[in-house]
Symmetry: C2
């Protein structure tokens, strides 16, 4: 059995079981076999059983290409995934959650790189135009994300990681970043901190606004001083973030409490503290969000709250399946709350 891929001969190398071979072996027609496998009630129950058995014994699996050609359904979902920056552990956990959810369903998960700076709409257009998938998942959603607009218009199934500010509702899964920021402030204040600092993601993302709002409202409520570090975002190179933090620390009244949205930022902050001679727990405190378990192994320990991205991916995938089955988009939203049970105390 030699499959020479340079050989331009057609496909039928294997004698793969097909509807026709099933038809021959059962004595029914191809049409009947097709319907029987689809459990069409118009086919006699006895016939359905016979066909099902025959299919099982030869291990029949419908040909995806043929079905796709005929029905337009691809059995594919596409995940638009950022390949530039990541929150530590994000990609692994998120992708694992998604692929595990689709396991055994017949859907296959297709990963396409998404670059925030460039044309984010291109890949989506491509998918719509060329019928490359039955559904789309994506991350890093913007407040008025053009992808959401386009997909809503096309009435194409999708679930976004993150909310938008469109009036039309659409399926999403999001982490309650406002609650996280608020809780972070409250905890730092409870420790007696009075000058809080935070670095935000790029403004374009919706969750940036949630973080900002949570931070600002909690900070004002508590009546403490604060700064939002300017000129730098979560996606800035670690060196730039480190520099900004050093600048901030050398000011007259440096912050004594840090809300960190990612693990890398938390580590950079920690080392900036160390470098400036400050001691965590004495001169300043950090409260961070984490997606991976590494903080358990860092000394000194940092207070964190866990964002479960495996579950996020899992829920998004399940929602997308329901949506692809035709369910209305209305109820399909989910907001993960900060998991204070899995909070990590120093």
């Amino acid at each position: 059995m030699n499959r020479d891929l340079t050989d331009p001969s057609p496909a039928q190398s294997r004698d793969k079981p097909t509807l026709r071979s099933l038809a021959e072996v059962t004595g029914f027609s191809v049409a009947t076999v097709s319907r029987a496998l689809a459990d069409d009630p118009r086919i006699a129950a006895k016939t359905r059983a016979k066909v099902a058995e025959a299919a099982a014994t030869v291990g029949y699996v419908p040909d995806r290409a043929a079905r796709r050609l005929r029905t337009g359904r691809t059995q594919v979902v596409t995940l638009l995934l950022n390949t530039e920056h990541e929150f530590l552990g994000f990609t692994h956990e998120f992708l694992s959650g998604i692929t595990e959810a689709f396991r055994g369903t017949g859907y296959s998960v297709n990963v396409v790189p998404d670059h925030v700076g460039e044309d984010r709409l291109g890949p989506v257009r491509n998918i719509l135009r060329n019928q490359l998938a039955d559904g789309i998942l994506f991350t890093r959603t913007e407040a008025f994300d053009p992808r959401v607009r386009l997909l809503l218009e096309a009435d194409f199934p999708f679930v976004s990681h993150g909310r938008t500010e469109f009036s039309t509702p659409h399926p999403y899964v999001d982490f309650d970043n406002e609650a996280f920021a608020r809780a972070a402030v409250q905890r730092l204040v409870a420790k007696g901190r009075t000058r809080l600092s935070m670095i935000l993601p790029e403004d374009r993302f919706t969750f940036t606004q949630h973080l900002r709002y949570g931070f600002l409202s909690a900070v004002r409520e508590a009546g403490v001083d604060y700064e939002i570090v300017s000129g730098v975002t979560l996606d800035s190179p670690a060196a730039a973030i480190a520099q900004a933090l050093r600048d901030s620390r050398s000011s007259a009244q440096p912050p004594d409490g840090y809300v960190c949205v990612g693990e890398v930022t938390a580590l950079v902050t920690l080392s900036a503290l160390v470098d400036s001679g400050a001691v965590l727990g004495c001169d300043a405190d950090i409260f961070a969000k984490r997606a991976s378990p590494i903080f358990d192994n860092i000394r000194p320990r940092i207070d964190t709250v866990f964002e479960d991205l495996r579950q996020t991916g899992n829920v998004m995938a399940t929602m997308l399946m329901r949506r692809m089955k035709g369910e209305a988009p209305q109820g399909l939203t989910h907001l993960l709350l900060p998991d204070f049970d899995r909070l990590h105390h120093s």
Copy 2:
């Protein structure tokens, strides 16, 4: 652009350009158009030009399902990816390297979960049997990996991350873990360390043997004492690793040099040191391999060497494409050397 969402008709709602519509507009037959687009020399050059132009103006893209049905080619590559454990940053960098390499080539990247404990062959069989892809990439290769055996037998294009011990050569990309382990030992010894310790991955993986060999031979060469921590592997829960390390540290003569294969292990080791009252750089040293840049931000700093997994993924993808184009598997191997230029000193 008229999209009629109320139209209940099946798939062909869009008037997507097809070979037939191109044929109509150019005046040639479907067969000629098909050949012209394939740049078949039997078609007159003038005709080819005309067809190409027409195709460009309407933005024709061949239907994947139809082509796949006819030719058996899927334009899909499958990545078997471990969803249980990861080396920090591995999944993100590796996957990014792969998807970027396939960008714009027409291939799409399909991710399927791979569980080491369970049936690793199942997904491969499924792909072969149902023609689900034109090529396969996978990681965590075993010395006599059954997937390699099966794929070699089927003469199916693949590239493994990691070598095997089969006599038949096959395409792979690997990191020189033996060189890493050897260099790690040498550097620790150069610092005056005399009792080295190491935690290995599971025995089944080929790179475990490389690590062991590099470690053992360098350690014997230098004539220093050593231990390979037993009862625990790199994939063990961090808590178990921590416990094993604590046990080791409370022995009569605890190690004073640690070779760490992953970042998490390095951090766990570091905190075990701290917990046992030892000081990094004084009582013990750590030399680690890293796939993400976080160590730059950890205090005290840890010596590391960088394994570029983005490049690994990229090279694997490029090799797979060459293999799928029919190139012989012989030359398609690549061994990444430890990047001592990007070594990180404390």
